[in-house]
Point group: C2
Chain length 472, copies 2
């Protein structure tokens, strides 16, 4: 079988660039850097991913909304830290037709400042709480670093949930629910990840604290796929989001958000893919099974009839399948569907038909098996489970073998992956570690055990462990 | 039952404004005029409408893509008529962070100029044709007229299909397919409409010809919901979209587009709604059936058990239903669900349960019927058909009774609806009719019969009939 020009194990970043194009996920030739065209295959995968998070939102009583893209500058500037954090990274609309706007509008980098003035109108009393909404939209960020498909782009396909609560404790319960949602979501995508409580100096602009969800890419760099923020009443005060409680008292809401971007698809490409292309978890594959007839002269009808039987059996069982009847060699078809990550291939040749069997080929391991034609649906469904299990276990092994708990900076040197180092909690010590290791601080583990060691930078008693890694 | 403050038959436009808010479709208090917040109910209806067009696209082998929102000015300016038509109506991004952009970017008003440079890379040979793609995206238009929810807004939820063909004839076949798609689509939404071939001076900027789909609102004004454009090779030339044919010759593609906007939801509100709220065709209702328990002391469990039985029977039959167990009076629940347009209400009281029956109430006619509990699924499904039939027939009667074929301008005067007048084909004569009648030209019927009359303005032999109406 043909393979990618660049090998994943040799040059991960170049392999990634090659494979996102070969698998027809996106086209990077659009004339604005970092604004790519989603091709049909990539967009359908993204929509399937969106479908999973929509299911999670429904399960947890979040309602879907859509807020405007454009935000007046005056609204944006109400929360001081927020504007400081984002001000340099937004795009500005200044003109409409021939007219200069009275006030500049920015393209949302995220929607706090569009939503919260409206939340203050929606929320009147404690009976309006909790308010739980989400949207899936295009957002914009003026990236000056090198762009990379799905991973660092300037128009970003973005999921954002926003909630309002009566007090800090109820907002904390939301954070607990968000963590459960994240765990279920990434598990379905076969992506093991870690939560990190982001350090104070690198939390979301305006947040009380930020938790990130990070995956490890095979390059040894981590990729932040999403984050959960506890805002306390930091935004409620400037945006005046208040409710009347049971005693007639007016109180500020406490708020949270949960955001994830198209980076999820980048992680799926990077973590699961190989030198034959991308490998899709069955749950998000637009085509879950491709059926390829192996035609010999005089046997066409017999083979195609069997293929159609397989196709309709799979469709009846709600398995998305495609019968590839195009005039081309089976080999070239295999190659193309492997590139696109289709989890299972069914091969049907005249000899199989005579025996009443078909051959199933797994995309993840390449393994082939002969099964009875009448068992094809249950065999395929079992295979989906096996594939999902294999994908997540392979990724878990990578994560575990790239995770190093060390006692000092020297031990951390040269490690490919995530290092966990005793830490006093001070920014300057973490920055020193960052500089020495050429890594970035991911943050603390959420449920940090006692750390009996000393901070290797200042020598004082460590307060906790801190994680560092090279990042995207 | 409570009713809207403003009556539909007395002041349609004010009733419309009231009902879109009461039915929780959108919130117009966002601080940029014409950029509204989609509330959960409105957004879910819109997504169901999008689902219907996606189904039509799948049926006709269109693939879904997503192109960037921002378009460099130089790309936009390649097609001279297009820039002339849209140049004054677009929003301009001029700055990123603190930096002035080297070239201005505009927010897409529609995506021809974003897509076509990329199509020229995608299309190499005749085997790449036809290319049929679509996207559902936010678009922007700098509206200076008075805005109105869904009908005239500045951020527009927009569907656009774009196709490329080997020649004019194949593009014409696409137009025929588009007309079939439109007919099926609007039929599902119970919206009778008319096709109009738009006059030369009012076709889409850059098109060879434009066909509009117009519905009649109860105010007597027509609302254009979408359009189909034949571009010929007008865009292929400036954007260099060429293919190599079987003989090695390089030829320009011929292109078409099909666009529809969120105005569809405006038409559903306007055409089907009444003084109790909106009325949704069952096919797009987020909640198709609401089940309301009528609780009496001591009978709670009996009633709720029966409600749950109805609920689970409906869900098993893929009918979206909601069991309203909130602590409130049945009357207030009826009011709320009627406002939101839920097609069928099931009322379950203790006497019904004793008799083994439930009561079905139709949203469209208000009619109530007692049915056996065990028949509830099939009765509800029959009711859905009856409701859809009634909605479309009522709307057809409105359209037909508001359609006037007249021989001269005097006869057309004061008519509420659409008038069809003999016409020589010259712009100045149509403009004269527009001025006298205070109407706008919709265009010619697609399959215009011979017209044996004379143009009432210039007196010359009429070439065809022309339709005029007051429009939104």
């Amino acid at each position: 079988m043909p393979e990618t020009k660049v090998k994943k194990e040799e040059d991960f970043n170049e392999w990634y660039n090659e494979v996102v194009e070969l698998a027809d996920l996106c086209d990077k030739r659009y004339p604005i850097k970092g604004m790519n065209v989603w091709r049909p295959h990539g967009w359908e995968i993204m929509q399937n991913i969106d479908g999973i998070i929509r299911g999670e939102m429904r399960r947890t009583n979040h309602l879907e909304v859509y807020f405007p893209l454009l935000i007046p500058e005056s609204l944006f500037q109400k929360e001081a830290e927020h504007i400081e954090g984002f001000g340099g990274e937004v795009y500005w609309v200044t003109h409409a037709g021939e007219n200069k706007l009275e006030e500049r509008w920015l393209l949302r980098p995220t929607s706090e400042t569009a939503m919260y003035p409206v939340f203050s109108l929606w929320i009147r009393s404690h009976s309006d709480l909790p308010l739980k909404v989400f949207q899936i939209v295009n957002t914009f960020r003026y990236e000056t670093k090198q762009t990379r498909a799905f991973i660092r782009v300037r128009e970003i396909h973005f999921f954002e949930a926003h909630t309002c609560h009566r007090d800090f404790e109820d907002a904390e319960r939301q954070i607990a629910e968000d963590k459960e949602i994240a765990t279920r979501f990434f598990n379905k995508l076969c992506l093991p990840f870690i939560f990190n409580k982001r350090p104070e100096w690198d939390k979301f602009a305006g947040a009380f604290y930020t938790i990130s969800m990070d995956v490890l890419m095979p390059s040894g760099r981590t990729l932040q796929l999403g984050s959960i923020h506890q805002y306390r009443d930091n935004f409620a005060k400037p945006y005046d989001i208040k409710y009347e409680d049971e005693n007639g008292e007016h109180k500020y809401c406490h708020q949270t958000t949960y955001g994830m971007s198209e980076r999820v698809i980048g992680a799926i490409v990077g973590v699961h893919g190989d030198n034959k292309g991308i490998v899709l978890p069955p749950v998000i594959a637009p085509v879950q099974v491709v059926i390829v007839p192996i035609i010999f002269k005089g046997k066409e009808k017999m083979v195609l009839d069997a293929c159609k039987q397989v196709h309709s059996a799979l469709e009846s069982a709600s398995v998305s399948s495609y019968l590839d009847e195009r005039e081309d060699t089976p080999g070239r078809k295999y190659y193309e569907w492997e590139l696109k990550g289709v989890p299972v291939r069914v091969e049907v040749g005249p000899r199989d038909v005579e025996k009443g069997t078909v051959v199933l080929a797994r995309r993840d391991t390449g393994e082939k098996r002969e099964v009875k034609l009448e068992d094809v649906v249950s065999e395929v469904q079992n295979l989906f489970e096996d594939i999902s299990r294999n994908l997540i276990e392979t990724a878990k092994r990578l994560l575990e073998s790239s995770f190093f708990r060390v006692k000092n900076v020297d031990e951390a040197r040269g490690k490919k992956g995530i290092v966990e180092i005793p830490w006093c909690g001070r920014e300057e010590c973490a920055v020193e570690m960052e500089n020495v290791l050429d890594m970035r601080t991911l943050g603390e583990p959420l449920d940090a055990e006692e750390c009996d060691e000393n901070c290797p930078v200042c020598g004082e008693k460590a307060k906790t462990w801190v994680r560092l890694a090279k990042t995207y």
